[in-house]
Symmetry: C2
């Protein structure tokens, strides 16, 4: 099937809380018409507050030609919201039964060649698509809060999703400026939320046990590893922790720490295969950049990140 993602002019946002409202703001800023529906009685006021709150940031980033908050219409019914939409983004609360029913309802009123994407934080589409009549075009399109600023969207289909729907969703998200990871297998929590959730659960355990305070946990990240993660990600970060020996040296040196009780999560066996896969993955990602070049890149970026955060806080106080 041809890529029709560039023909889309109207997006339906079903569910208009923090995530649905953030999506609406993003699509509006990219010049789309947005038709929204949410069953909550105060939904429209809340949605417009979210969009208004996002607009200064989106204006700062640069609006697309024709972008306007006037292109947002809140409709009284689901059927009216999806009418004329070339893409549907569902962002309902994280409740499996609710998602099943809602996706079946959206499916029933939406032409079968329109992709319906769910913002679910972690349910596999196979589990959500059980009651929809046309599951072929149902996919996960998982964003990060706020969807109008954080580029990542994870796209993955369920057992009954067809390849064209996964491809069209990925192409559409890329077209609207997103960084897309298209997964070829379902995994609860996808990729980023599995990583983030492991950290979050360790944090909750620590607070529950009185091992650290909320503030210590946040400072530990904002003033520590959090400064590196926008730059290189956890694997490439540790590639640099190995010094001139890179990931290979790092795993050979810190490998024994995997058996230490540094977190409640037990580690996998550091087999030769896993070691080699990590080393090869880092070398592929480094794409010819030496450790020294990556260190220089990281240093420039970490300084710039620190300054950016400090200046933003200064402006907040000022």
């Amino acid at each position: 099937m041809a890529d029709t993602s560039t023909d889309i002019t109207t997006v339906a946002c079903v569910g208009a809380g923090v995530i649905g409202g953030g999506w609406a703001a993003h699509f509006l800023a990219r010049g789309y018409r947005v038709r929204a529906w949410d069953p909550a009685p105060d939904a429209e006021a809340k949605l417009r507050r979210i969009v208004d709150g996002a607009w200064p940031a989106l204006t700062e980033l640069g609006l697309a030609d024709g972008a306007s908050r006037d292109n947002l219409t809140v409709l009284p019914t689901l059927a009216e919201a999806v009418d004329g939409a070339g893409f549907v983004q569902e962002s309902a609360p994280e409740d499996l039964d609710l998602k099943r029913t809602l996706l079946a309802d959206i499916d029933a009123v939406t032409p079968s060649d329109v992709v319906i994407a769910s913002s679910t934080s972690g349910f596999p589409m196979t589990d959500m698509a059980t009651t929809a009549a046309n599951p072929a075009r149902l996919v996960v399109g998982h964003p990060f809060n706020p969807p109008y600023l954080i580029p990542l969207v994870e796209v993955v289909g369920g057992e009954k999703s067809e390849r064209w729907a996964v491809e069209q969703a990925s192409a559409f998200y890329r077209h609207v400026g997103k960084s897309v990871i298209t997964m070829d297998r379902e995994l609860p929590g996808f990729i980023a939320n599995r990583l983030q959730e492991a950290l979050w659960r360790e944090a909750l355990h620590m607070v529950a046990e009185g091992e650290a305070t909320v503030e210590q946990i946040d400072t530990a990240i904002t003033d520590g590893p959090g400064l590196r993660w926008p730059v290189h990600g956890p694997c490439l970060t540790f590639h640099l922790a190995g010094g001139e020996g890179g990931m290979a040296h790092m795993l050979d040196h810190f490998g024994p720490s995997l058996e230490a009780p540094w977190t409640r999560l037990t580690a996998p066996d550091l087999t030769k295969q896993l070691r080699d896969d990590m080393v090869a993955g880092c070398e592929s990602e480094a794409d010819g950049r030496s450790i020294a070049e990556l260190v220089a890149e990281r240093d420039r970026a970490v300084i710039a990140v620190q300054r950016a955060v400090a200046e933003s806080r200064g402006r907040a106080d000022g």
Copy 2:
């Protein structure tokens, strides 16, 4: 005991790999004399490469009066390295037996009123101080790579460490520009590494099982949650995920996800106490800033972080 941290003019760096070398660069940039020792035959050349590699970043950040790479001396013996030092930073490989022996050796040649801090990534000092004659002044001072850029240092004593040593180490690190978390109890991996290690182990599991590639994992963080973590930390980030209801709404809404298989790490029971502690911690950290104000702060900062990283990469390519 009076705070003598401002009287220190010379620091001994024992172990001169990536971490020890990074510490040396930081102390040099802050105007200290650094005396280094490392048993590796090529240690001095490697150390000077690390310092030279760090110097452009440190110059960009602004050197202290009198700061110079000429203030680095590499000594042939441990005893000579600690001679005249007002603070000792040990950064040997992460091996418990090695650390025990080395800390006892450092202890034997260093005046007993000088604090000796270990850069260990996760060993409690109680486990490392078993063979030292004067464990009172042995503390953990755990930095993050690179120590010359990432502000966080976690300070914690062992059972035999005395309070003055913990306080003096904390004061000294603050004096040299660090963000210090002083912990009042020992915990393997301290705080930041427990959080980081949980994420890292989940990543290793995913690669081991073929669930994600190294590159997908890094992109999931750099283009996703990694953009928020220098700004607000994991707790305050999720305070904003709850919309106008904050952490309370977030836990009430996403609480059930804690039972979902989103990571291999099982979650703690979300007791009323834990829920209330998380809510109170976020409110304390927010320090009067409304959700709307925090959202505006985050939005400004995330845009600035993205631009900073993009520009740093642009300079790397150019």
